[in-house]
Symmetry: C3
Subunit: 335 residues, 3 copies
Amino acid sequence: MPISLGELATRFGCELIGDPDIEVSGVASLSNADSDSLTFLSNAAFKEQLSSTKAAVVILRPADASDSPVAAILHDDPYLCYARMAAVVCPPPAYAPGIHSSAVVDPTATVAASAHVAPNAVVGEHSVIGENVYVGPGTVVGPDCVVGDDCRFIANVTLVRAVSIGLRGLIHPGVVLGSDGFGNAMTPEGWIKVPQVGGLVIGDDVEIGTNTAVDCGAIGDTVIEDGVRIDNICHIAHNVRIGAHSALAGMVGIAGSTTIGKRCVFGGTSGATGHITICDDVVILGGAVATKNITKPGAYSGMFPAEPAKNWAKNVARFRRIDALTARVKKLEEK
Amino acid sequence: MPISLGELATRFGCELIGDPDIEVSGVASLSNADSDSLTFLSNAAFKEQLSSTKAAVVILRPADASDSPVAAILHDDPYLCYARMAAVVCPPPAYAPGIHSSAVVDPTATVAASAHVAPNAVVGEHSVIGENVYVGPGTVVGPDCVVGDDCRFIANVTLVRAVSIGLRGLIHPGVVLGSDGFGNAMTPEGWIKVPQVGGLVIGDDVEIGTNTAVDCGAIGDTVIEDGVRIDNICHIAHNVRIGAHSALAGMVGIAGSTTIGKRCVFGGTSGATGHITICDDVVILGGAVATKNITKPGAYSGMFPAEPAKNWAKNVARFRRIDALTARVKKLEEK
Amino acid sequence: MPISLGELATRFGCELIGDPDIEVSGVASLSNADSDSLTFLSNAAFKEQLSSTKAAVVILRPADASDSPVAAILHDDPYLCYARMAAVVCPPPAYAPGIHSSAVVDPTATVAASAHVAPNAVVGEHSVIGENVYVGPGTVVGPDCVVGDDCRFIANVTLVRAVSIGLRGLIHPGVVLGSDGFGNAMTPEGWIKVPQVGGLVIGDDVEIGTNTAVDCGAIGDTVIEDGVRIDNICHIAHNVRIGAHSALAGMVGIAGSTTIGKRCVFGGTSGATGHITICDDVVILGGAVATKNITKPGAYSGMFPAEPAKNWAKNVARFRRIDALTARVKKLEEK
C-alpha cells in the first residue's frame, strides 16, 4: 500500500529527515532496496551498506542519521519501528467476505458475515467463526470451537474440537490444535488409552508456526495465554500452560502438565520435561532442556556445540573416564 | 453418556462405596469436579484435594477410601481404572454411516457401508475401508491401502500408498503414513533417488499422534506392531520395525532400518540411529539417542539437564580441557 | 514396468552375465526376491544371502559375480546402479492430464494442459503450474507461485505464497513451503510481528520430506539450491540458503539467516544456529548443532550416545564437579 513518508512519520511520531511527499510501496534490505522501498539499519554489521542504498528512506538511530544518503526516519529501536511501519506498507492480504462453494459448513455452525471461508475448508457442528476471520483453504475447524475476530488460519490448519481462540490469532499451515494428548495407562496386556476430554484455550494475539501441534487437556484445559509466539514444528503437550508474551523458537517441545511463566523465551530445539513449573522471565537457550522447576529468572543452557569429530570422540572417551580420573586425584591427595 | 455408579462398578468388577443409583455423565479433576463427575486419586500429590472434591464419585485405592467425602470406587490402580471407566462415560463421537457429497472416492475403492467418509476426504484406487471406519475431513487415503474395522483418521491425515492398518487404529491430524523414505545414492553429479517401493504394515490398536511421519519401506516393509503408541511429531524412517506395545513420546526420531523390541519406551525427543537393534523392555530416557545395539533390558540416558547459563559455559570450557587435566594428573602421578 | 535384462544392461552400459531375454518387473531384497525381481548386493553384511536368492538378477561388484546363483549385472557401485535401474523398473505413477472437478483453480492461475490437479486441490491467484506437474489431493498452491515442469506434490502439501520451484521437484505430504518466518520485535507490551514479505526460491531436482517446513524470507528470499535433499520433519527458517546437493536427514533444524555450503550433509536431529555460514563439504553428524561459522570441510559432532542410566547419572554428577576436580589438581600441583 503506497504511503508517503510524511504520513508514516506522523502516524508513528518519528522525526523524518527528507521530503515528506516521497511515497514507499514496499520493503527491502539496504542492499536490495529501490526508490519505492522502506528499509532499516539496526545491526551495526550492515552499516557499510548504508552509503550505497537506493532506498526511498532508511529507518535508523539518530546517531546514524547523517550517514544516510537518502531520507531518514529516526528511531531508537529501528527494528521495532520497521516492524510497525512494514505492517502498514505490506499489510496482510484482504479477503472478500463469503463462504466458497466448495467449503462445507455445518448447519449448526455460525460464521460471521464478514468472515472468509476458502475453498475446501470445513467448519464443524456448533462452531462459531468471528468477524473478519480467514479460514484458509483445506482448513478443518472441528466441532465446538470458538474463533475470535480477525483470526487467520492460512491453509490446511486443523482445529480438532473444543478449541477456543481469542482475537487476531495467526495460525500457519499444518498446525493442529486440540488433538488428543498422550495419555496411556499400562496393563499386562498393553496400553489402555486415557480419554482426552479437556479443551484448548488460546488467548489474543497468538501466532503459531507451521506444523506445530498443541494438544487439548486430558481433563482440564491446555492454555496458551495472550501474545504468545510459537515457531514451526513445536510440540505442546496436554495440560501445558504457556504464560503471556512467551516465545518458543523452532522445534521446541514442552511435555505434559508443565507451566511456563510470562515473557519466557525458548531457543530452537530446546524444551521442558513434564510436570514442572518455570517462573516468569526465564530464557532456555537453544538445545537445552529444563528438567526441574525453575524459580529464578535468567538464562539456562545445556547444549554442547558441535566440534571437529575427532576432538569430540576424544572428549566423549575422556568424559567416560572422569570417574577414574577423580579416583586418581583422590589417591594422589591421600599421599 | 450418563451411567450409574452401580453399572460402572459391576461392569469393571470394582467395589463401590456409596449409592449405586447416582449417575455420572462426565469426568473432571478432583478440584474441578461437580456432582455429575467421575474423578480419581492416583498421585499422592493430589491427596489434599480429596477432602473438598464435589465429584459424584472418586476412584481411589482401598487405603484411601475412608478419606473420600463422596462415593468411592476402589481399585489398586486408580489411573488404569479411570482410563477404562472414562472411555465408557466419554466415548469417542459416533458418526452416521455414509460418504459426504464433497468426498471423492475412486470407483475401484471399497468402502464398508458402516464407514463414514467426511467432507473433502479422498479415497484412492483399490483401497479398502473397513466397517465403522471414520475417514475424517481432508483425509487422503491413497491407492492400494487396507484399513481395518473401527479405525479413525481424525482429519487431514495422509496415507500415501500401500499402507495396511489393522483394527481400531487411531490416527491424529497431520499424520503421514507410507511416504517415501530417504534413500539416495551419491554420484559425482549429485544425489540419485532410490525408489521407495516397500509398504507400511501397522497392527491392531495402534495410536499415532499429530504430525508424525512413518515412511514406507525401501524394498521390504516398515512395520508397526500391535498396541504401539506414538506421540506427536515423531519420525519413523524406512524399514523400521517397532515391537508390540512399545510407546514413543513426543518428537522421537527412529532412523532407517532400526528394529525396536516389544514394550520399549522412548521418552520425549529421544531416538535411535539407523541399522541398530534394541531388545525388548528397553527404556530410552528423554533426550537420549541410542547409537548401537542394546541387548540388555533397562533404562538408558544421555541428556544433560539445563543449568544456569554461566555454570554451563564454565563446564563446557572445562569439558574441553579434560584432556589437559588428565595429562596433569598423569604428570603428578609420575612424580 | 517389465523390462529385459539385456535392455537394462545396455541402457546403463553394464556387463550382464546371464540370459538377456529374462524380464524383471519388480525389485526386492536378496532374501525376498522372486524370479521377476531385480535385486542387488552392496553391503558385505548381506553377502551370505546371495547364494540362496531366487531373484532374476543381482547387481553386484565384479568380484562377487562368480558367487551369484542367478544372472548378474556388474557394477562397481551396485547401490547406485540399483537406484538407476529400479527407477526404470518401478517408475513413479503416471497421471492422466486434467483438473479434477472437485479441485479449485483460480481463474487467474495458469495450469499446463499436461498437468494433473487431483481431487480437492486448490491453485491460487496468478500461480503457474508447469508441464506434467502432479498437484496431489488436498494440496494448496497459494497465490503467486511458479511450479516448474515435472514437479510432484504428493498430497496435502501447502505452498503459502510466492514460492518458486524448479524442475522435477518432489514434495511429500504435509510439507509447507513459504510460510512466515519467526520475526518478532520486542516491546514493553509484548511482541510485534515483523511482516515476512520475502519469497522462497527452490532449484531443480529438490526433494523435500514429509511435514518439513521451509519459511519464506523476511525481506529477501530463502533459497534451496539444485539437487538438495531434505528428509522428514525438518525446519528451515527464514533467509536460510542451502547449497546445491546438500542433504539433511530427519528432524534437522536450520535457524534463520544461516548459509550452508554445497554438498554438506546433516545427520538426523542435527542442526545449525542462526546467522552463521558453513562452508562446502561439511558433515554435521547426528544430533550435533553447529553454533558458529565453519570454514573447514570435514566432520563435526556433538552428541553423547545413550548409556545405561546409572552410569550416565554418575557421569553427569562428575561433570558438574570438573571445576572442583580441576581445583584439586591445581592444589596438588602447587605442593
